[in-house]
């Protein structure tokens, strides 16, 4: 029967072409939306490498660290140190640190290195040692950055697990220098006066953009608050669990008491997280809604075309009943043809989707995401066409053979 159905579908390709195209478009849309869903679900379930609960972020404005001369910088360093000290002394505060790029912020310092002959981006995060405690970053091996690091002849860096794995393979990264490459991508030894970055620790993967972000390569290095050329403007504050929103007023008042002429924009890190998640999921939700409308339209069209097809084939259905088809056989005949068309569309759609990564048009989706999207889309499309085929199929089973045979 399967062979018969496929032969019939093939021989009727002109009349079934429209249904085929509708199912194919539906399948491709489903692949895209469900693939994005699978991608984000995978991201969501992966650890992000830090904690955002009970963490406040204060953006210091008006300091203008970048334009300050040496004399002004010396004053500002003392002011920042006083800010940290006074905030840490608040009863609700557990830990305070400052960092150049806090989680969920759109700013990032990007450097590059080479892995397997190709250039890759590395997010360089500078922070004070306390940030590890504020964000709950897990150190896997080695040590974290320390206040005394500025006195060393090299720059100690802590790298994430994925960078350690891809850069140093099975070797221990501890004590190894970060490789340096010339402009042509050739590995080079550090020259005189070059700053050497040496790995002193490895953390778990750290995803700056949180749950829905990628897992970038990251290096952490210390901020030299005593002699550094620059001072971070973002302060990270871990408060005790149960601290209320009233803390914000106390925090800002405390900071204004220290340096009245700076501004302090304070918010919960979880608020940034929520905004960021909505920024990522929003387009997906909009796409899903548009896709749902499209699929509903296609579904209505499919029901109409199938309905018309059943009506047009009344004589044939009557003939099949006369030749021994039961109502059940007729139902499976109509649904079987629909499933055969769907199978053809799924095969073609799968071929198309598999081509995307080969031509670099997969928008960074991994093979597992594409496979997940294809699997889900296949299940949904079969369920969808079966649902669309139920009513026309029911009509087909209601055909009385004696009446149907009068149709020409």
């Amino acid at each position: 029967m399967t062979r018969h159905i496929f032969k019939l579908v093939w021989n009727r390709k002109r009349s079934t072409g429209l249904i085929f195209v509708e199912i194919l478009i539906c399948f491709l849309v489903l692949c895209s939306v469900l693939g994005a869903g699978v991608h984000y679900l995978g991201q969501w379930r992966s650890p992000r490498g830090f904690e955002s609960e009970n963490v406040w972020v204060t953006y210091i404005g008006g300091a203008d660290f970048y334009r300050a001369d040496d004399e002004e910088m010396a004053v500002m360093r003392q002011q920042v140190a006083a800010l940290i000290r006074d905030v840490r002394s608040l009863p609700d505060v557990e830990e305070v640190g400052i960092s150049f790029n806090v989680p969920y912020s759109n700013s990032a310092w990007i450097s590059s290195t080479r892995i397997d002959g190709r250039s890759v981006s590395v997010s360089a995060t500078q922070l004070t040692p306390e940030v590890m405690g504020v964000l709950g970053i897990e150190l896997l091996t080695g040590r974290w950055v320390e206040d005394t690091d500025a006195a060393l002849s090299y720059t100690p860096v802590v790298i994430t697990r994925n960078l350690a794995r891809d850069l140093f393979r099975t070797d221990s990264p501890l004590g190894k220098n970060m490789p340096q490459f010339d402009e042509e991508g050739q590995l080079q030894e550090p020259g005189e006066g070059d700053v050497i970055s040496r790995v002193v620790g490895v953390t778990d993967d750290y995803r700056h953009f949180g749950e829905l972000g990628d897992t970038p390569y990251v290096t952490f290095s210390g901020v030299d608050l005593q002699n550094g050329d620059d001072i971070p403007e973002e302060m990270l504050i871990r408060v005790r669990p149960g601290t209320t929103a009233a803390f914000e007023e106390i925090l800002v008042e405390t900071m204004q008491n220290v340096v009245p002429n700076w501004s302090y924009d304070t918010q919960l890190l979880d608020q940034s997280r929520h905004r960021h998640i909505m920024g990522r999921i929003g387009p997906l939700i909009i796409s899903a809604v548009i896709a749902a409308f499209l699929i509903i339209m296609v579904g209505l069209g499919l029901v109409g075309v199938l309905w018309q097809s059943v009506t047009r084939r009344t004589g044939e259905l009557g003939l099949r009943r006369a030749l021994g088809a039961s109502s059940r056989s007729v139902r499976y005949q109509i649904l079987g043809e629909l499933w055969a068309l769907t199978t053809c569309a799924v095969v073609l759609g799968t071929v198309v989707m598999i081509q995307l990564p080969l031509f670099g048009a997969s928008f960074g989706a991994s093979w597992s995401v594409i496979a997940g999207g294809l699997t889900l889309a296949t299940l949904v499309i079969y369920g969808f066409v079966t649902f669309c085929g139920l009513y026309p199929t029911w009509l087909a089973t209601r055909v009385k053979p004696a009446t149907a045979l009068q149709y020409e």
Binding site: H4, G324, K400, A402
Partner: protein, 241 residues
């Protein structure tokens, strides 16, 4: 009937059991709408022994096709009883009726009712699709049936590539491929010229004679009807002879 059905081998090519005996007792068929009641058959009593070649005649609208539909289990009578080989048809459910039509009854229609998107071989295989047969067996049975009606060289032709007579022979091959014991032909020569009609009639006679199959043929052609063993005449839904 279901017992006969189960005992009839799906793959058998010979008809060991002869024709089906048909018995109609006080059969009525009334079509009702909101305003009109049309009596298509009224008090039809007919006993057809297995292996008989019977023709049904009558003017248009006399109920010939309705009677054939009732005999072929395509329609249910409004009153009376139909028995095939002693089994009451009214006792059968949809699945059992379909099985009886599939294994015991072959249909030949005036307008052939071939599926234009399938070639002759695939058209003939249709009744076999509803039996649990391997594709190779189905194909072999369809080839034998087409050879039998003289279309061995036209198996891969589509209906539109065949003449009317050839199309009707494909329809006959489709009717006999499952070795039914009752063959119902609704004006099988109605759309054919006399030469092709004669060829079709000869095939029916040969099948009745050689396989012992019961053949019931509706026809307007007095000459063809006289070649059958018995003529039943209908007028306004009633038997007149």
């Amino acid at each position: 009937m279901s017992t006969n059905l189960e005992s009839s081998s799906a793959t058998s090519t010979a008809n060991a059991g002869g024709g089906v005996a048909v018995d109609l007792a006080a059969v009525e068929k009334i079509y009702r709408t909101d305003k009109v009641e049309t009596v298509a058959l009224s008090n039809v009593n007919l006993t057809i022994p297995g292996g008989e070649f019977l023709s049904i005649m009558g003017p248009s609208g006399s109920g010939k096709s309705t009677l054939l539909n009732v005999l072929g289990l395509l329609d249910t009578p409004s009153g009376g009883t139909v028995t095939l080989d002693g089994d009451l048809v009214a006792d059968l459910n949809d699945r059992q009726l379909a099985a009886v039509r599939n294994r015991e009854i072959g249909f030949i229609f005036q307008s052939f009712h071939l599926i234009n998107d399938l070639d002759a071989l695939d058209n003939v295989q249709i009744p076999l699709l509803y039996r649990n047969l391997p594709n190779s067996v189905r194909t072999q049975m369809a080839e034998i049936a087409l050879e039998r009606v003289g279309l061995g060289s036209r198996m891969r032709h589509f209906p539109t590539q065949l003449s009317g007579g050839q199309q009707q022979r494909v329809a006959i091959a489709r009717a006999i491929v499952g070795t039914p014991r009752l063959l119902l032909a609704d004006e099988p020569t109605g759309n054919l010229d006399s030469k092709m009609g004669e060829e079709v009639m000869q095939i029916l006679e040969e099948y009745n004679r050689d396989a012992g199959v019961t053949v019931i043929m509706v026809t307007h052609d007095q000459r063809l009807a006289e070649r059958t063993e018995r003529i039943v005449r209908l007028f306004d839904g009633r038997q007149v002879h």
